[in-house]
Amino acid sequence: MAEEKKQPRIGVFVCHCGTNIAGSLDVKAVQDYARTLPGVIVADEYQYMCSTPGQKKIDDAIKEHDLTGIVVAACSPRLHEPTFRTATKEGGLNPFRFEMANIREQNSWVHMHDYEGATDKAKDAVRIAVAKAALLEDLYPKSVPVEHAAMVVGAGVGGIQAALDLASAGIKTYLIEKTPTIGGRMSQLDKTFPTLDCSQCILTPKMVDVGRHPNIELHTYTEVEAVEGYIGNFDITLRKKARGVMTPTEATAKGIVGGGCNGCGDCDAVCPVIKPNPFEFGMKPRKAIYIYHPQVVPLIYTIDFDSCVKCGLCVEACGEKKAIDLNMEDSFETVKVGTVILATGYDMFPIEKKREWGYKQFDNVITSLEFERLICASGPTGGHLIRPSDGATPKKVAFVLCAGSRDNTGVGKPYCSRFCCMYSLKHAHQITEKIPGCQAYIFYMDIRSFGKMYEEFYYRIQDEGTKFIRGRVANILEDAKTKNLHVYAEDTLLGQPVDMVVDMVVLAAAVEPTQNIDPVRKMFGVSCSQDGWMLEAHPKLNPCGTTTAGVFLAGVCQGPKDIPDTVAQAEGAASAASIPIHMGKVELEPYFAQCIEEKCAGCGMCTNLCPYSALDLVEKNGRTVMQVTEAKCKGCGTCGGFCPGGAIYMQHFTTPQIVAQIDAFLLGGEQ
């Protein structure tokens, strides 16, 4: 902290950014103004400061003019601060002796019609930055070790892929899933577009690999309870919900030889309690002791203790294996990991809220996921599409697209759910193929067949005979006797209203973030975007990362996407998550708090304010003073903003620096 006090020698560089900045304010005038500021030795300007020649200017200027600090007036520091810090370092200065003035995102781009006002503001911004730059000092990032382990939260196809990639890279991976089995939405699908692969067939090998992989520790029926720590050193507490059934490993640990659940199903056969199976959307029953379907991984039964009557018949039927423990309780385990990937998927929007379409009012109006189960050979009807009202095979099926999506009424979601056009085409194909004489009608706004081989799939479905009506469905009414449905829409291409009588309606309902996911994402410090999906670090340049170092996103939890994009993002997230782990250490930005011990009164108020418990009171030289654990300190400054004695020194955002900025703005300036 104590350095030889050298007179500040600042170099200022004003960027044109093509016409992005130069088009809205007078770059030359800002450069000329910068020369007049105290401490400024050289002021330059250039078209694109972030380019190689631009950065070279910084390098050269430092050496030529023996500069102590650099100011670049250009875009947002959130974009190019790292770039220019590197340039500063290459010029021989400590990289933290650099300050940026944002004259683009917060100036030239938002004041495009006020040349004078924007120029004045840019001059002020440079003056403010120079004032801070004059007080910057050498700082050194702190290196922390990274735990050689990762966690993936959510075991749908995204989580599964990410876990497999991490595990194959030699990283111990905890894969956490809140339901009793992995597989997620993809295992609920029948076929996948555009290849028409059987969904479960292509997913099962990956599920089995997960179950078998030596580097993957799979925790199903488990949720994240608490998160502490920071990148490289996350301490995550898991709540392992009481399954009531022991795995062979757990049974062995309890001394039961050759015991534990082997998935035989003898318990299922005798259980007297029948409940709806959520995997089948209630269209098939399950017992209080259950598995969702025969291909679950792990193949272990689960007891729904809310429905279980503790009759004990299952215990009897299990016999020698002694796998059932009706008194099992939730247990907790804390694990340490270096990085985390969130892959928590989605739920369907409760489309009954759009009452005009009659879902949950009329028997023969179903959602697309319910359709998937009905058409799937392993589903509740063995793959026969039937009408819920009478079990008859439908002859005319209407598919309502954009149901609850692209909706600005405040009831539905304003965004596009991205994959419904494609799966509705797939559904139309399936009924055309499976049910001879059955006619599919797709009521659409647009057909978004954007991906590889998607447009060709669209041609195919058109050729197969599906009829397309371009118009939003306004209302669906039921014929009380036949339970047929009247679909009212406008055929906008013909300019005519349509009242079509169909046997069945399938709503391509909107998707939304998994219910109750907010507490989980907040535990990891992940924000959400305006549309409710988890917020990525940058939508174009960093779609897998988040603003919390060490936490990454994969799959639909970051925004609606299909299986190819989910798997791609999962692989990207796994790659990004493996980098700190492979490097073994990660550098933390040195924005730490420091205690100025001469000024510290030892009151301890700051220790209560710190959200990371990074501050402690210690005895030093007979006095009680505060001490910072740098590894825990994230540099938020909450303690610094409070200390009444000014005894806390926030590196890189010191009180003298901020006051200098305030003074520069308000007291400096052209008199």
């Binding site: 005009e356 009012q361 209302n475 009414l477 039921e478 014929d479 009380a480 009247h486």
Partner: protein
């Protein structure tokens, strides 16, 4: 309240007094029996008709509606009315002028020419919602006022459009499948029946009846098909314009399309009047286009 009665300025509208005066008489007499006193609103004009006027010149619509409201403001009474179209004009204009200062100033500038000023001191209600509101009347009170139950009759309820929509500008929350008028009908001893296009327009409003009669009748015909399929003995509504469309409409449909329907159409107040013992003469049912006899035979 006055003498234990809830008092309202009764905005009549046009169609009821001119075509179905029984609605007016019924409204006044039946309301009295359930604690609501409807006071005459002197000098009131057409609301003005939201479709015919509002679609052509908004400033005229605002000014004329405001004028009607001011007459009630001067009486110091909230307005009660019996027509969906009037409801749209009077209720919506009242709310909008209360909320938007610049609009109110514009309208008051026009009304200044006749020395009137909109102050925004009263509220506007449809008589049917007053009947339903337990604080004013309530379904039970309606039931208790019945002396001649409409037993054995099946009645299809037509809500109409302007009563419930646009939802953002109404007190009601459900425009997809409300059931409260059915409750009021059942309280009379009748059986309300559900039919498929219950929430569809009758075809009259929005200027459609005036501009393209054949088209409006096509819409009415759709409703008549479904009402008949549901086995209704009569249609009831809370809007004299809907009543006109159904009542005269059936005659026009027979003339133009050769389709014969003979479903009696009665405003809820007429039904309430019958249930409270008023005679068909008092209710001027003989002025109806479609003969109400088949319905009356079931209850008298």
């Amino acid at each position: 309240m006055h003498n234990g009665m809830h008092e309202y300025a009764f905005f009549l509208g046009c169609i009821a007094p001119n075509r179905y005066p029984g609605c007016e008489a019924a409204a006044i007499k039946t309301s009295r029996n359930v604690g609501i006193e409807l006071l005459p609103l002197k000098g009131a004009s057409c609301c003005p008709a939201p479709g015919a006027f509002g679609a052509v010149d908004l400033s005229v619509w605002y000014a004329m509606a405001a004028r009607n409201i001011i007459l009630a403001e001067e009486m110091g009474k909230d307005i009660a009315l019996i027509c969906n179209g009037c409801y749209k004009s009077i209720y919506e204009v009242n709310e909008r002028l209360k909320e938007h200062d610049d609009l109110r100033d514009q309208v008051n500038e026009v009304l200044a020419e006749v020395d009137m000023e909109f102050k925004g001191t009263i509220d506007v209600y449809h008589l049917a919602e007053l009947y339903y509101d337990p604080k004013i009347c309530g379904v039970e009170k309606i039931r208790e006022s019945v002396v001649r139950p409409l037993d054995g009759t099946k009645i299809a309820v037509h809500y109409g459009c302007h009563l419930l929509k646009p939802i953002k500008e109404r007190r009601f929350t459900d425009a997809e499948n409300p059931m409260w008028i059915e409750e009021l009908v059942d309280a009379l001893g009748a059986e309300s029946v559900q039919y498929r296009n219950k929430m569809q327009c009758c075809g009259a409003g929005g200027g459609v009846r005036g501009f393209d009669l054949a088209h409006s009748l096509d819409i009415t015909n759709e409703k008549l098909i479904n009402v008949t399929e549901a086995g209704a003995d009569a249609i009831t509504e809370v809007c004299p314009f809907c009543q006109l469309q159904y009542d005269r409409g059936q005659i026009e449909i027979k003339e133009k399309f050769g389709i014969e329907w003979n479903i009696p159409v009665l405003h809820y107040n007429e039904l309430l009047g019958l249930a409270q013992g008023m005679s068909p003469q008092e209710l001027a049912l003989d002025l109806h286009g479609i003969d109400c006899k088949p319905f009356l035979d079931k209850i008298l």
